[in-house]
Symmetry: C2
Subunit: 253 residues, 2 copies
């Protein structure tokens, strides 16, 4: 014997650490406050830095922390509620929405997207890149794919900016029959990560939308949302709004 460990730990250190830190975040820190650095924290808890990092990683995944290389680890604000429909059951870029057009190219879509659109794997489609900004922060990047068949009256090629506008404008002349969406977990590709101010591989929520018109899939979009800062909301009933949901445990007990 010697060690009176009747407790039978059984719980991984990083898991226990995570709970401890999570509670400390609620009770001893303010949003935006910067934590001690990883080496100090690890020493304070008597674990290796790798173990401490495992706990921080989880907390970042859950949107409790934000870490930035060269800067430090800060307490994250509650996740933003980001409306993704179908309250706004409309064509992308119609009316007032929070998207900015970044660029536009005409190229073959990746295989999975071509399958969604029902186009051949090598058919060129209009590909519009957009960015969604909320509260001064880039929260999503999107690639919107529009087959030429959906916008047949497009005049001769223009600059990327006007090209994108022209595609969207003609899209809006079609009658939208409906749309459907799918959400899954992914990791940010290098390009997306850069735009979202994250490192490659950061967890993202991938929202795939199909737009139907004339009995066909007239357009499809793949939007990549920061999973750490966003909560995707699908409003349906004309009901109250809630912008955040974080526990009130801040100073509950």
């Amino acid at each position: 014997m010697g060690t009176t460990q009747l407790e039978a730990v059984q719980e991984p250190k990083y898991w226990h650490l995570k709970t401890v830190l999570n509670d400390a975040l609620d009770s001893e820190f303010e949003v935006g406050e910067i934590l001690p650095n990883e080496r100090d924290l690890a020493a304070r808890f008597g674990v290796a830095r790798a173990t401490l990092r495992q706990a921080l990683e989880q907390l970042e995944l859950e949107g409790r922390l934000q870490r930035r290389r060269g800067v430090g680890t800060t307490v994250a604000p509650p996740r933003m509620g980001v409306a993704v429909g179908p309250t706004t059951n409309a064509w992308p870029g119609a009316g007032r929405d929070s998207w900015n057009t970044i660029g536009c190219v005409e190229a073959p879509a990746p295989a999975p997207v071509a399958a969604l659109l029902g186009t051949g794997p090598d058919d060129a489609v209009h590909t519009i890149r957009r960015e969604r900004v909320m509260q001064g922060q880039s929260v999503a990047t999107e690639l919107l794919y529009v087959p030429p068949a959906s916008v047949p009256n497009l005049s001769g090629l223009l600059t990327p900016a006007t090209h994108a506008q022209a595609v969207l404008r003609e899209l809006h002349t079609l009658e939208l029959d409906g749309d459907d969406r799918a959400v899954e977990l992914g990791s940010a590709r290098a390009e997306d990560a850069k735009q979202l101010d994250r490192l490659p591989g950061a967890p993202v929520l991938v929202l795939t939308t199909r737009y139907y018109a004339g009995g066909r899939v007239a357009a499809a979009s793949v939007a990549t949302y920061r999973a750490d800062t966003c909560r995707l909301t699908f409003g349906d009933s004309g009901a109250v709004e809630v912008t955040h949901h974080q526990p009130e445990s801040r100073q509950a007990s």
Copy 2:
């Protein structure tokens, strides 16, 4: 000089490893096939096991791999498309759905849920635990919260099983005004992880639903879906069905 590294690596090893493995999975492995163990793989690629694991972790996150302690690492099938509405805009447990009732208790709801329901933080609510099974696999666990005010005619207390049935039955007598949903990334709590046959902390998609009736939130549910195996679909138009979307790159080029 000495080493002709004009390329300027700059790309982390684990990231490169991930791409290599991902391609190998497409071209050299079948779904369900079991990979060499981590020590062998690490040796084969000339990296430490921790580095190899970082790559495997990402691939598992993306639903390409499935790892099980004591067993091995296998190639995962494409993610399941799981319908979560609003095609089935109805009360939970109504008609044919893929949920099984596990149990039922009457207890105060956690603070965030109480806020959704508009009940006091210490008011007891009916709490029904359910499980969703698809293709023989448990893909989600749910806690459904129903304030007593929504089901006032409930007869005296019964066994948990009949209790749950009674609550659902009375819920169905109300007229459903609508519902709204939110999706965010989370990590599985110990209890949920066990039910989903995952380790604690596994990435999950948390779907929060509010059910409206009589101008109030009559019920709320928090459902936890396995993020590695599920793609949440929000059908809207009466359109075609797609059950999986994985790239056809299996034997493309």
